[in-house]
Subunit: 335 residues, 2 copies
């Protein structure tokens, strides 16, 4: 049985290019006891993967040149040597970037379809995306009802969820930034943000001050750079920053400037806190219960940008880094 | 009765100069009911005062041009219209920069001499200095026994206390930076730091990595700028930064560069938290109990740099900003 997979051909320097990837056909290994064979239906490409393409230690091991990439995927169990996990089950797992995956049954999460909600929600609002937004907003930034929230990269998968959770939890104001007029419209019209702006349209600080005239209490940072500097200026006393990522710097080949106003954190008693969603698996049930209910009630919207075919996954990843997606960037591997 | 006081003559632009200050003789107002007249014996000059010389909102109201400065002082009650606070008592209060102060009895803290410890300790280790170090290390940075700590500006009053508290609370390693060879010697020889370096001697990052080869868990930041950037590089996973001040930027007339590596806070799950000691008065009794015991037992050393005469207070303040002091910079107003 042949399975195609994407391998890392070489490490990107700066922006990734198609030549950094390689499409290879390989035979999946035979199943060992306790393992399952999954036919992947859809996989996600995510900003954090860029960091794993670099050499050197990070919070997750780097991808290895010549080895397949990995990441979140959803598929159907087609063969099983694991008691209690029969063929036909739908699972999510972390062996994306390939058509067929062999993994331990314990590495798989069995998912149930919610009426009216596509299964891909388990790669988005009900998966690591939703958990990242949930933990970042509630546990890291310690958002409280009545506070004003700013989310950068808000038309991305995590940003869109962070803004909507803030709204549903009683934020006094939810403001988002994004990279195009269409995305700005999407944030306000579809996701219920109170205000949004295109960061190309002028000084971020001025646009943020205009969109949140009373200042902000929480900043959910997906971007870093000048977005973070602007947020520090606009944060009120005791404000908090959940540092989720800094996509503005992932492809930089020179060090990017830091926020020149970080000293304001003293007088304003700000807290800036970085986090990694994989530290917080214990919050998954809470998140699924809350976000699942909102999804069923139609209170949460999630956008997806879907590309067809594993061979297009590298370009989808590159496009996602450039902001071509609205919501989750997914690659459909089979129907 | 004549009392001399220092007023703010004009707001400094960049480094303060003597012309920004004015020595004026004034008659203290008559005591109202509940007030006391204090003859100040000693006052402190502190880095945070520089920020209050600027116009515009901060966490404390700015000093007003033409008005006397204020700050911590210790003195003797010479007249009282407050029941229970008789002349002869020694008090600390916040009306320094003048020879005689009139204040409400409730604004004064009565202090008792500890045998072998000078009364000025109440402006240092047993005053706001000690509380700043104590709260910053224990409550803001959440230092735990066995962790490695880096303190910048460690030969300053707060820094010296932060390092000693870390040592006495069981730090695995305490490293300090300072601005001269003499101060570096003082840190290791007198204050019991495990290692110290002069930030003039080379790249801070390299010196820090050499002094704390296993990395650091806590950074107590008095300096900001390149010290903070170096600390972010050397912090281990789940490291914390107590942002106490950024003396490197107080006299800057241009925005100072921020840490270019702040994005590392995500993968390392760092927490950077600013704080102001006046938010934490409830911790004063705990601090005085612990630090007072260490002082009595001779386990804590504190240095003082003392200048004589109110007329020299402006220059003492300017010199302190340039690092002329070791430990607390004090101005003796009377004996």
């Amino acid at each position: 049985m042949a399975s195609r997979e994407i391998r890392l051909a070489s490490r990107p320097s700066g922006w990734p290019v198609p030549e950094n990837f390689e499409l290879v056909t390989a035979e999946p290994p035979a199943l060992a006891e306790g393992q399952i064979l999954v036919r992947n239906l859809v996989m996600s490409v995510d900003p954090y993967m860029r960091g794993r393409m670099n050499e050197g230690k990070s919070y997750t091991p780097p991808f290895q040149v010549g080895e397949p990439l990995d990441g979140a995927a959803l598929g159907e169990v087609v063969e099983s040597r694991a008691p209690g996990l029969a063929p036909g089950a739908t699972v999510t797992h972390r062996y994306g970037w390939r058509e067929y995956a062999v993994l331990g049954a314990r590495e798989a999460r069995v998912v149930e379809e919610i009426p009216g909600v596509p299964l891909s929600a388990y790669l988005g609002p009900l998966g690591m995306t939703g958990l990242t937004a949930y933990v970042g907003l509630l546990d890291i930034a310690r958002f409280q009802e009545g506070e004003a929230v700013f989310v950068s990269g808000a038309a991305g998968a995590v940003g869109g969820m962070a803004g909507q959770i803030a709204r549903l939890k009683g934020a006094s104001r939810v403001v988002g930034s994004a990279g195009s007029r269409e995305k700005v419209t999407h944030l306000v019209r579809d996701l219920g943000f109170d205000a949004a702006f295109d960061y190309h349209d002028g000084e971020i600080r001025e646009q943020l001050a205009g969109a949140a005239p009373g200042g902000i209490d929480v900043y959910f940072d997906n971007v870093g750079g000048d977005h973070l500097e602007a947020a520090i200026d606009e944060l009120r006393t005791y404000g908090r920053v959940a540092m989720c990522g800094s996509i503005s710097s992932y492809n930089a080949t020179e060090p990017v400037p830091g926020p020149r106003n970080l000293g304001l954190a003293v007088g304003k008693r700000l807290t800036l806190r970085g986090f990694i969603v994989s530290d917080h698996p214990g919050r998954l049930p809470d998140m699924v219960a809350e976000v699942g209910a909102w999804l069923r009630e139609g209170k949460i919207t999630f956008a997806e940008t879907v590309v067809d075919g594993l061979e297009n996954a590298p370009q989808a990843f590159i496009d996602m880094l450039r902001g071509a997606n609205t919501g989750k960037m997914l690659v459909r591997l089979a129907r």
